[in-house]
């Protein structure tokens, strides 16, 4: 732990007093540090959010080039219940999110710890490791679609060369969702890695040194020192990864368009069809709100599960 005293000495000559605008800035720093974010956010998000809520209880029509809004809250909510695609979409999405995020968290955290333990080439490895998130999602979807291609894709070509049977990656209802999950994992492990790596880098070396001196094995120092310290970063990575997973669109759209059957029908994909292709804005808004509710529910449940697991280990 860095001593306060050492810090005092190290602080470069900070002026003892500052006059005029300097003091004003300092005194109001508390406010003007937060206000820009609040103002910017308010300016850009209030209108869309209010619009969304209003749409969710209305039916939006067009006549003579003019929008007409009619209040139809019950009709919109009824539409959710009547929509046959919603149930499989929700189930698939929950499976997709739970599995993808779990795999990504494990792989990403493990990679962050492993890379942090490298003696050289850390920065290079980090740059290479984040390449997948640099590729536009539309390119990822189409490239993986080619790789999964039944007749000519590289996976099946390799399987056939090894004497095995080719797999119907995107055309079989039992395999398709897993194929999509695999693409998601490839795409997003770097995201988790990046956040966790920054967190590992931020661990004060003294702590690790102390544990090492105390005779802890690597496994023990990992479990009792590193992981608990990484907890806040793990939480943030999980939070945002889960939310993003609920919003996945491009890859699924290009890979399977929600098929075959309903096996890869995901909520966001269905939302796109309702909102854009079918132009049902009111119902689409309700679905969006339902998605938000589902995400919140999922996060709350995850939190419960995580607390329970942590309690078990203690």
């Amino acid at each position: 732990m860095r001593t306060v005293g050492a810090l005092r000495e190290a602080t470069p000559g900070a002026p003892a007093t500052r006059g005029g605008i300097g003091t004003l800035l300092d005194r109001s720093f508390r406010y003007w540090s937060l206000v820009p974010a609040v103002l910017l956010f308010a300016a850009l998000t209030l209108y869309p959010l209010l619009n969304l809520v209003r749409m969710s209880v209305s039916t939006v029509g067009f006549a003579n080039g003019v929008e007409t809004w009619t209040l139809t809250p019950l009709r919109n909510f009824a539409a959710v219940l009547e929509d046959d695609v919603v149930r499989p979409a929700v189930v698939n999405t929950l499976v997709f999110v739970a599995v993808s995020v779990a795999i990504e968290m494990v792989l990403g955290t493990a990679l962050a710890i492993a890379v942090a333990g490298l003696s050289r080439a850390k920065r290079l490895v980090r740059t290479v490791a984040i390449l997948p998130i640099l590729v536009p999602p539309v390119a990822i979807g189409s490239i993986w679609k080619l790789m999964y291609n039944y007749d000519f894709g590289i996976f099946n070509q390799a399987l056939v060369a090894l004497g095995a049977m080719p797999v119907n990656w995107l055309g079989s209802t039992s395999v398709a969702l897993w194929s999509v999950i695999a693409v998601d994992v490839w795409h997003w492990v770097p995201f988790v890695f990046l956040i966790l790596f920054a967190a590992v880098e931020g661990i004060p070396p003294d702590l690790l040194e102390a544990a090492h001196v105390d005779g802890a094995t690597r496994g023990q120092s990992l479990r009792f020192v590193v992981l608990p310290l990484l907890r806040p970063a793990i939480v943030v990575a999980f939070l945002f990864r889960a939310i993003l997973a609920f919003k996945v669109f491009d890859e699924v759209f290009l890979l399977t368009a929600g098929g075959p059957g309903t096996s890869t029908e995901l909520v966001n994909l269905h939302l796109y069809k309702v909102f854009f292709e079918q132009n049902r804005l009111g119902y689409g808004a309700v679905l969006s709100l339902a998605v938000i509710a589902a995400i919140v529910a999922f996060l709350l449940v995850s939190r419960r599960v995580a607390l329970a697991v942590a309690a078990m280990h203690r």
Binding site: R30, A37, L40, V135, P136, A139, L208, V236
Partner: protein, 281 residues
């Protein structure tokens, strides 16, 4: 950027660790190599999964110099938008995250703001497009890079704030108190002490904000047209009505990662050097 080897000695990767890293790097890079080879193939060679194949530069030529391509313009747009929005979101986000962490705000303020950003993050982007299109058109900002910068900042602000918050939380308050006692104003304390200590977080948040802005598609599509279109919009044009022009899409994807990687390298250096000027390790 810590190069302290004492701590990492405790973490030093053994054989399984290094093997895992190697495997992971292979799994990550392999599809890239695939994209790279595809970019030098003719469409028919991609269709038939040919290997070996006769390489060609025609795809790159088509993407960069083709009659209907403004790809260099698109890259310029993406660079400007991504760099600006990243810089802006880091400034605004770091200040806000620090403020929420350091100063005692009433619960409704901090929980309210954080909760609101999180809920906003959950809203599907396509429901935002309509209202934003209308708003920016009314303001005369349709088809401008400024509109994209501002919307990208909004989209990335939740993650930036939440991420930086965890890093600022790790800073012991005594350090900041000590600086205060020393006559260091709160802004100076933020700039010279907190920021350097949160450097890894800043870099991670910066990289993520940059990448998300670089790859952002729906908003860029809605708010721009030919002149201000960004790279994802240009690449999406290769996904045509009946088929995808894989060859050109691969070439465009390869080209688009280069400036992004360069800018990220430079950006990291910039942040690091900017903070180590008169900062504390």
């Amino acid at each position: 950027m810590t190069t302290d080897t004492r701590g990492t000695a405790a973490l030093r990767a053994g054989i399984p660790g290094r093997l895992y890293v190697a495997l992971a790097i292979f799994a990550i890079v392999a599809p890239f190599l695939w994209i790279l080879t595809a970019s030098f193939k003719h469409q028919i060679a991609i269709y038939a999964g040919q290997f070996p194949f006769t390489p060609t530069l025609a795809n790159y030529a088509d993407v960069l110099f083709g009659r209907r391509s403004d790809f260099s313009g698109n890259i310029a747009n993406s660079l400007i938008v991504a760099a600006s929005s990243t810089a802006l979101v880091l400034v605004v986000g770091a200040l806000a995250a620090y403020s929420l962490q350091r100063f005692r705000w009433p619960a409704w303020v901090s929980a309210g703001f954080l909760g609101w950003t999180l809920v906003f993050h959950m809203v599907p982007v396509l429901t935002l497009l309509g209202p934003w299109y209308v708003a920016f058109r009314e303001l005369g900002l349709y088809d401008t890079r400024a509109a994209l910068v501002v919307t990208h900042v909004t989209i990335n602000l939740p993650m930036t704030v939440w991420l930086l918050r965890t890093f600022f939380r790790e800073i012991p308050p005594e350090i900041l108190e000590a600086a205060h006692v020393d006559g260091c104003g709160p802004f100076d304390a933020f700039r010279r002490i907190a920021l350097p200590l949160a450097l890894p977080g800043l870099i991670a948040a910066g990289i993520l904000a940059f990448v998300f802005s670089w790859n952002e598609f729906p908003i860029a599509l809605t708010l721009t047209s030919r002149v201000t279109a960004t790279v994802p919009v240009a690449i999406a044009r290769f996904a045509q009505q009946y088929e995808i022009q894989h060859a050109q899409m691969a070439a465009a994807s390869v080209i688009s990662t280069i400036p992004a990687v360069i800018l990220m390298f430079l950006g990291q250096r910039f942040i690091v050097s900017g903070l180590t000027l008169g900062a504390v390790k």
